[in-house]
Subunit: 320 residues, 2 copies
Amino acid sequence: MSITVVGSIAYDTVKTPVGTRERMLGGAATHFALAASFFSTVRAVGPVGGDFTERDFERLRTRGTLTDDVTVVPDGKTFFWSGEYGQNMNSCQTLDTQLGVFGEFEPQLSEGARDCDVLFLANIQPTLQASVLDQCHAPRWTALDSMNLWIEIARDDLVAVIERVDCVILNDAEIRQLTGKSSIATAGRELLAMGPSAVIAKQGEYGAILITREGFFSLPAFPLDSVADPTGAGDTFAGGTVGYVASQPDRPVDQELLRTAIAYGTAIASFNVEEFGTERVERLSLGEAHARVEQIHQMTQFSHPVDPLEVEQSAEESIA
Amino acid sequence: MSITVVGSIAYDTVKTPVGTRERMLGGAATHFALAASFFSTVRAVGPVGGDFTERDFERLRTRGTLTDDVTVVPDGKTFFWSGEYGQNMNSCQTLDTQLGVFGEFEPQLSEGARDCDVLFLANIQPTLQASVLDQCHAPRWTALDSMNLWIEIARDDLVAVIERVDCVILNDAEIRQLTGKSSIATAGRELLAMGPSAVIAKQGEYGAILITREGFFSLPAFPLDSVADPTGAGDTFAGGTVGYVASQPDRPVDQELLRTAIAYGTAIASFNVEEFGTERVERLSLGEAHARVEQIHQMTQFSHPVDPLEVEQSAEESIA
């Protein structure tokens, strides 16, 4: 059982109210792999330049991620992004983007990568996502991410890929933008009608919503005392979620399984933002992730009167 | 057992993408009373002008709310507010505010109102909230709401009232503004240190967080296909929450009780926004509210492996 993830591997320079880091290992495939590798073997597919260090290859290989499908372009530069977060960490200003080798990326998957059990298409051009789907033999379960840029300039291509995957994982604002619906419930059902069996709306610090034909699930984020760097939280969330799905090959990917999966995605993402870049998740243990899932479980449970009559009874008593 | 609520009784003219209503019954005390009256006798304390109609008195008396403490100023005008909501219902532009009799409101509670079991101080000037606390005999449980204006111009007065109540119910943005902390977890603990035993952060369409010395609870909002008018959602939420607390006089007001209370607040508030003003909650039944609490319960539950070793086991198996 293995997961193939196709997406960016990058160097990030990040400034937040907590501090600054220069050229940290980043990228969607990186953050995804670091989280998903708790649950399954991950193959990362993406390009890097001659500037990509052996130390960062090692970081990517944390917990056994296979990097045979990471293409090194010796004369090229690794995708570079630089951004600065505002005081509340919700706003981020991009200071610099240098696509480098990512700009000419045309994924060519190895046999091992094509043979995956679960496929995650991180945020890349929708036509490239379609090409990866074409190359893969029959993965049991497929999910994709995307971004506002592709919704704006390549909407038809994006919809064509959405029609072919099992699960869409997008920010809630992107789901609204894509469907033109202000209600996430309505928007989610519209995406389900395109083909996928699951839609996951990421809500950042507020949590995530799952919409399937069986109904809704909504899980709040884990409340943190301090956030050092939100970069990669969404990809870490996707990695934990998709990774958990991959770890349960004998179970149908239904609401029940996805709910638990989202709890793991939420838990691991909450660790991701506590430190910069991949720092925290690199040295995270599954025991720690599990303990946080337990904390999230504790903080979302409530008891309620089983019988409406009990409530009416108690209301009548209190009025009397 | 009764609840006293002190706050505005108003006429609202509201324009939303769904429609427009002129001079509907509104105000914090009104929305609060309509929700809390499912669980306990409510006494509304607030001023109205000679323009306040008998029909609106009847609306306020839905489910038995006592209006003896509603002061009619025959020569005055009822508080009037007019606003327009943007496409996503998250932004609202105030078009007109005429304080009318509310501008000279100095609460003088009747013996019945002073003798309440539970007291809710809706959003009014903090010194008036303090005056109400002075007038009340020993209420078993007290809660307050406030707003950005008082945090800006009367912060010390507001802190002085917060020190005297059991529970603070504010928007998350107001909690951040009041404490200067961007983390709701940290901000919540800072408010607990001022004296209250519970802090409830309202997050609008995202739900609510409860912070007590026992820990956290986080409950997402109920996903709706369409929102007609968000006006009064926060006060309806407070009414359902505080009302449920009042309905359980023999139980300590601890995490467990407050969690269930917040589920009722969330459920009733979700009905409130489905139609304009008080339209929906006026004809809501407790059975409907209970059914929605059950739906919210269903959409927030997840199962998780009890033993971390089980997860590691299944990860090892899937890698093998």
